[in-house]
């Protein structure tokens, strides 16, 4: 197999596979260059995370202030309440559907831009990014106008005689998944594009020369070699989709509450930051463990085959 090249590419180091791929980028110059990024992460990611961790073992005193007087894990046991399970399962279902749709739509788009974009590649990529120039909230409200009972879509269907009565699309699972797929699609396309664009197409050519069918060459050469991009795209879609509460709030309805919406309620209307933090941490834990398992098994699939 040709997969031996993939790990070398992945880690950007020309070294023997596996164990020697350790992150030893030692020189002082590199450290200085990395410093701003590290400081940024510490200040805006680790510190807030640490504050959240501290708050999550606290409680709210009768005056409504967060207090650490009796630290304990009570918030965590409270957060394991089975009442959250339906919302959690619903969130996972939305995120999974969104990820599958984003990859299914994103892969052909990225492939097409990379293979046939020619000198317009940059322009096409800018077009993929273009929606980011408008606030996500405004774009989501635009979907409300399209999807509601007397909206653009239903009017078109009514006028064309395909339906006699408006189909309720807004405030259903369909509208939430559609809105999330729309929102997260660019996050899927960009890493897919990078990995497809870096693919050496002479490999595909070689497979064809060795009598692989078009489908066979894609399944046995293109797809495995672009798997790192697919994993990245999948994670970049699934993780934010799992935590999204804007789309379900705007496009969802009474029956589409996600776990993120419940966390938000605990923080705002419930005014219970310690409890909300604990629930947030549990969700983060679930996400991290799931991500690690996914990365491990996929890494084995991509790299392990040659070892």
């Amino acid at each position: 197999m040709t997969t031996a090249e993939a790990p070398a590419e992945l880690d950007g180091v020309t070294a023997p596979p596996r164990e020697a791929v350790a992150r030893r980028s030692g020189s002082a110059a590199t450290s200085i260059l990395v410093l701003p990024g590290v400081l940024w992460l510490v200040a805006f990611f680790l510190v807030p995370l640490a504050i959240m961790a501290v708050v999550s073992v606290g409680s709210v005193d009768p005056a409504g202030h967060i207090t650490l007087a009796n630290p304990g894990l009570g918030n965590y046991t409270h957060a394991l309440d089975p009442e959250f399970i339906p919302a959690l399962l619903r969130s996972i279902w939305y995120a999974t559907a969104t990820t599958i749709l984003s990859l299914g739509i994103g892969y052909p788009v990225a492939y097409w831009i990379s293979r046939y974009g020619g000198r317009h590649k940059v322009l096409l990529l800018i077009l993929v990014m273009l929606p980011f120039w408008t606030s996500y909230l405004i774009r989501t409200y635009a979907w409300v106008m399209i999807l509601r009972d007397n909206g653009v879509l239903n009017s078109l269907l009514l006028d064309s005689g395909l339906i006699d009565e408006p189909i309720p699309i807004l405030n259903t699972d369909v509208s939430v998944i559609l809105g999330m797929t729309y929102g997260f699609l660019p996050y899927a396309i960009l890493p897919l594009f990078v990995s497809i664009d870096r693919l050496d197409f002479s490999m595909v050519q070689a497979a064809r020369d060795l009598y692989a069918s078009g489908r066979g060459a894609f399944l046995h050469v293109t797809l495995p070699l672009t798997m790192p991009g697919i994993i990245a795209a999948g994670l970049l879609t699934f993780i934010p989709a799992l935590g999204d509460f804007v789309t379900p709030s705007v496009l969802g309805g009474a029956q589409t509450t996600t776990i993120a919406k419940l966390v938000q309620t605990i923080f705002t209307a419930g005014r219970d930051w310690p409890y909300g933090s604990a629930l947030g941490f549990l969700l983060m834990g679930v996400t991290i463990v799931g991500t690690l398992i996914a990365l491990r098994s996929l890494r084995r699939e991509v790299i392990g085959a040659s070892a």
Binding site: P62, D81, L137, R148, L170, N171, G253, R271, D272
Partner: protein, 409 residues
């Protein structure tokens, strides 16, 4: 109020109404602000953050009145036409969008020569977060929280005592508002506007005159109703149906209410606290749990829509003007409250936004269509029956939140 069957007609009719009555343009504007509120919310948030940052740096070094140095710098920019007992030359106000008279801020600036920074927030959590951010008001002098927050703000030291000698217009408050339960004697707050909770419906789809909360549980309206995305208001609606207090803290009673709300949930299209106006106008739902002011804004587009304060009882609420404990400009803040209690100023605000205030001096100047509508200005006998939502202690609120989340999940 003509019947409409074609959705397309509403625009033409709205246009005709515009042409027929010139004074509707400002209300149309108001409606647009409401409709696009969500779209502009982010921008406003950014502006508000920027402004608050600026005001925080301005106010941080001195929590007392502004030092003389900055006064001279400002005096060249805005000369004071009417000198009053040493007010500061600036004022920072934080209020809801479209929730004051059209010219009130300008008139205040012209009268006192005080430069007002008037910032808006998109929702209550942003507002409360700002007040609590530094434990003394987040750099703003004046806030407009709902009255239910007052006791906790007092105990947290977020707001300061009002100096009644600086606010002669307090005499304009009607007797019912001289000593509200949330703040006896208006010691820390001054009432601003008030509202009721009920529901709006479209008489094209629903005939007859409705009076009961039970209408929101009618299975024939499945998927055509919405409730407020507000746990206190939803539990209150359930409590009234069961004849319980909307401020109950009994867990057995809360369980009964939850059971009732669980029966209702499958019938609902959505819970929302932002889209009830546009969704009634656009006929997405035919019945919506809402606040009285929401209904006023709905009627600007669809005059046929109806509203009722349910007969089993309902909620009344009001918001208040308060002065932050860390207000950089306390004298100017008192002047601001006094100015807004003026009969003419208060009436102009009510005529513009559609909410009634507690101001007796304003009554003669309020437009008849607001004043004479029992749904906007209910008779005292009705008002007396309505109940205010009380501030809940964290442990009690947690009992609500847990059940609300179980319902939502």
């Amino acid at each position: 109020m003509t019947e409409r069957n074609l959705p397309g007609m509403s625009f033409n009719e709205a246009l005709e109404e515009q042409l027929a009555r010139a004074h509707w343009t400002r209300r149309e504007f108001l409606r647009r602000v409401a409709a696009f509120g969500a779209a502009t919310a982010l921008t406003q948030l950014l502006i508000a953050c920027g402004q608050a940052g600026a005001s925080a740096t301005a106010g941080a070094p001195s929590t007392g009145p502004t030092p003389a140095g900055s006064t001279t710098a400002e005096a060249t920019a805005t000369p004071a036409p009417t000198p009053v007992p040493s007010p500061e030359d600036k004022l920072f106000v934080y209020n809801w969008d479209a929730y004051i008279g059209e010219d009130t801020v300008k008139q205040f600036q012209d009268k006192y020569g005080i430069e007002v920074t008037y910032d808006n927030f998109p929702d209550e959590s942003t507002q409360i977060g700002k007040i609590q951010s530094d434990g003394k008001g987040g750099g703003y002098d004046i806030h407009y929280p709902a009255s239910t927050w007052v006791p906790s703000f007092v105990s947290d030291g977020l707001i300061q005592k009002i100096d009644h000698s600086l606010i002669p217009n307090l005499k304009n408050l009607s007797t019912a508002w001289q000593s509200p339960a949330y703040d006896p004697g208006n010691a820390y707050s001054v009432p601003n506007f008030w509202w009721t909770t009920g529901y709006a419906w479209d008489p094209r789809d629903i005939s007859g005159s409705l009076t009961s909360w039970a209408e929101l549980w009618d299975p024939t309206r499945k998927n055509k109703m919405s409730m407020l995305d507000d746990l206190r208001e939803c539990f209150a609606a359930g409590a009234f149906r069961l004849g319980l207090s909307p401020n109950t803290t009994s867990t057995t009673e809360l369980d009964q209410i939850l059971q009732l709300l669980e029966q209702q949930k499958p019938l609902l299209r959505f819970y929302t606290a932002t889209d009830q106006i546009t969704d009634m106008i656009n006929e997405v739902v035919e019945m919506a749990h809402c606040w009285s002011g929401d209904w006023v804004q709905m009627t600007y587009d669809k005059p046929r829509l109806k509203y009722v304060i349910p007969s089993e009882g309902s909620i009344r609420g009001n918001d208040v003007m308060v002065i932050s404990s860390g207000a950089p400009h306390p004298i100017a803040a008192h002047l601001w409250i006094d100015f807004n209690l003026d009969g003419d100023i208060s009436a102009a605000s009510t005529n513009y936004i559609g909410y009634m205030g507690p101001n007796d001096a304003a009554l003669p100047k309020i437009d008849d269509y607001i004043k004479n509508d029992p749904r906007l200005n209910p008779p005292q006998a009705v008002l007396d029956e309505l109940i205010e939502l009380e501030y809940l202690k964290p442990d009690d609120l947690a009992e609500y939140t847990d059940r609300w989340n179980a319902l939502q999940a």
